[in-house]
Subunit: 319 residues, 2 copies
């Protein structure tokens, strides 16, 4: 089969062996996949991963339990044991024995076929097109923010970063009653926010006054936390969504002095993401900048790194 | 009066003008004061502070409201407006207009006399000697940890750092029903822990398995957070107590991946600290390594920087 894989270098492989579904797994033929900043970070050494990239996708179940065959699905990316203390404690996404599609120990979805546990499947309703369905996984990650933080009408929420993830986080927060401001440096994506009636401010114009209740850090950059610490109020909350290869050089004294709560935030609830996309609460189509065929995956990854492009998709198989 | 002040350099000043008590303030004649890591960090540039150092002390009220005259007192260090939104919200320690004794905008207690707001005074009961009373302020900071974190019998708590603050935090946590381990690198202070029947482990012997519920970072070093991130379990909590001049170079990806909660923690409740010292729950006397007269304050500060010494005190006036 065809696949886009990383092993020291990023390569399109036209003849990679097809995956074999293990016990409790099925094979999904991938229609469309999205390039995430994590994919880019992996090519810079993040997670030390080698294998087929890709964890945001929509496809059709090709083999597996009869009730799933031919169904259009999105898939959770954490493949878990279901037995360890963390799984038993309801924290399956933190399973110690987990593999993660295209990120850790398991081939991902930038390929004709991907093997996934049946328990990870979510049916995609007809109301959601393929182009929208590739956003289910990152929209779920955005939903995780509102699951971790208490949001009330008077809560002053700030999202910093108007990249792929920041735009989703901002839109999900906007479906909750609160005061929301989005801060970014890219005029193009700031304009996207304004078109969605989100208050958007260029980072150079932001008063750093330690007066915001909650700051969600989605910059994907080591500088994001320092800015967040200048925005958040004493006893306020910073939600960290960015992961990147390497270290952040940050003065943490403001976190101690202002007794800030910093919450790491990763994967989130697929059910909420699917429901909000089906309700058309999130505008994801306007985030799609380019669509490449899988064969041009190396080029697509480079395109996803440039600020002109927001979301870059890989068209892999027809629906 | 005599004072130990920092202004580019640390100097003993035998003829510094006496402070003048402002409205709502009183003058306290200082008996004994403790040197804190924050004092040392200030001499390295932390907070950009210039003035008389010192914020851990016990003394006698010399002038002020009649009901306080001649009373032996410990003092809260945050001098607040009482009117701003944060004060009104019950977060007076975070008052935006605050000065902080010996740390920000207000002379401290390494001097014969210190001016403090009357509202900051706490009477020291007879059960607490001067040598113990100088620990009220840092013990309150230690108490803040148990106010911020939910501690239950099964909670696995780790304190990293067996310096001045770590030893207090460990002892305060030990008065709560939980599983406690103290991690340090100084054989002398690890032995102090064992004498208090606290489970103590050298940092080189620690399994970094991401399995502890709560890790309290008291190392005073930029490396502390990285170790804490290797110890804390997924969805666990790190309490940050360390402040220091400069930045930490840290890989924050584990905080995001494991969805860790990081809590900044600063000053704490004096009432709990006084009560626990009066109940003799904290052994602070064994932490006292050296006592210097104020005139030898520069030497005392140098002594407080060496690992052989835990707490170094300044004897300023007789009780």
């Amino acid at each position: 089969m065809r696949a886009l894989a990383f092993d020291k270098a990023l390569t399109f492989d036209p003849r990679r062996p097809e995956p074999i579904a293990g016990a409790g797994e099925c094979l999904v033929r991938v229609h469309l996949a999205g390039i995430c900043s994590t994919d880019i970070q992996i090519t810079r050494g993040y997670m030390g991963y080698r294998g087929v990239l890709g964890h945001e996708f929509v496809g059709t179940v090709e083999s597996g339990p009869e009730e799933w065959i031919h169904r259009r699905v999105a898939c959770e990316i954490n493949c878990v044991c279901g037995k360890c203390a963390l799984c038993q404690a309801g924290l399956a996404n933190h399973c110690r024995a987990r593999t993660v599609l295209g990120i850790a120990g398991r081939d991902g979805a930038f390929a004709d076929l991907v093997a996934v546990p049946v328990r990870n499947l979510h049916a995609v309703p007809d109301a959601i097109s393929d182009e929208e369905a590739v956003f289910i996984e990152p929209a779920a990650a955005a939903w995780q923010v509102v699951k971790q933080v208490r949001i009330e009408p008077r809560t002053q929420m700030v999202v910093i970063g108007t990249g792929r993830l920041g735009l989703l986080v901002a839109q999900v927060i906007a479906t909750h009653d609160c005061q929301l401001e989005v801060i970014g440096r890219n005029p193009k994506t700031l304009a996207l926010c304004e078109r969605r009636h989100l208050r958007a401010t260029h980072v150079n114009d932001v008063a750093r006054r330690n007066d915001r209740d909650v700051v969600v850090e989605c910059t994907g950059s080591p500088d994001g936390l320092a800015l967040a610490l200048q925005l958040v109020r004493p006893r306020g909350t910073i939600v960290l969504k960015s992961t990147y290869a390497g270290t952040a050089n940050v003065d943490l004294a403001p976190a101690v002095i202002n007794e800030v709560t910093i919450l790491g935030s990763r994967c989130g609830p697929f059910a909420d993401a699917i429901a909000s996309l089906a309700r058309r609460e999130l505008d994801v189509r306007s985030m799609i900048s380019k669509v490449y065929p899988l064969e041009r995956g190396v080029e697509a990854m480079a395109a996803a790194e440039t600020p002109e492009n927001v979301k870059v998709l890989l068209k892999i198989n027809p629906r």
